[in-house]
């Protein structure tokens, strides 16, 4: 799964730490999500969408291997 979290953070001039604090997780969690190592829960994804003012589907996109 691809995500545009880094871009969205840049748009809002937000650090990983800043985003983490806003949605109540650790910076390592944000880092692992950005790197594609961890898929966040629905709750977390919706919180991100809230913070960025962008739809969840515009932050996260499915890839071919997600379907296997």
């Amino acid at each position: 799964m691809k995500n545009t979290i880094k871009v969205e953070r840049a748009k809002k001039d937000m650090t990983q730490e800043g985003l983490a604090e806003k949605i109540g997780v650790s910076r390592q969690t944000i880092n692992s999500i950005e790197k594609g190592k961890y898929v966040p829960s629905t709750l977390l994804a919706i919180k991100m969408s809230d913070v960025f003012g962008v739809k969840v589907n515009d932050i996260f996109t499915l890839e071919e291997e997600d379907w296997s």
Partner: protein
């Protein structure tokens, strides 16, 4: 997603404080027959204790090790979020795999006194492996 029951974060350092003395006590008891005299069980003269006088040092050591490992491994982290829960789960699974593999291997290849030692270690290796693996994952972040 709510956490299953975990101890408060403050318990964790207490776990470390309990762990090392308990481990030391257990090791000295097992290998050097060290015992605290005040832990001798008072035994009545006509007795059920056919195996001779009992001492509770080894019981204290084992319970201390187990309780402290629980306190270390199962207390909340400062940021207990969903990613940490995933790491917990992965560590638990890894610890189970490792423990079961080692028991199988020792069952097949070790006998007598060696196997008996394995049985004793097995009393606490599962939480121990979990604690080691969990903290390894955490330090890698």
């Amino acid at each position: 997603m709510k956490t299953h029951f975990l101890f408060p974060n403050k318990i964790k350092p207490l776990g470390w404080i309990l762990f090392f003395p308990s481990l030391l006590l257990g090791t000295t008891n097992l290998y050097f027959d060290f015992e605290f005299d005040f832990l001798d069980l008072v035994v009545s003269s006509d007795t059920l204790f056919k195996f001779g006088p009992q001492n509770l040092t080894d019981e204290f050591a084992l319970v201390g090790v187990l309780v402290s490992l629980m306190m270390i491994g199962f207390s909340k982290l400062k940021t207990e979020d969903e990613y940490v829960q995933k790491i917990r789960l992965d560590s638990l699974l890894w610890a189970m795999y490792l423990n079961i593999t080692l028991v199988i291997l020792s069952t097949l290849f070790l006998y007598g006194g060696y196997y008996f030692s394995v049985l004793i270690y097995n009393l606490f290796t599962l939480p121990l492996f979990f604690v080691i693996r969990f903290h390894y994952y955490l330090s890698k972040r």
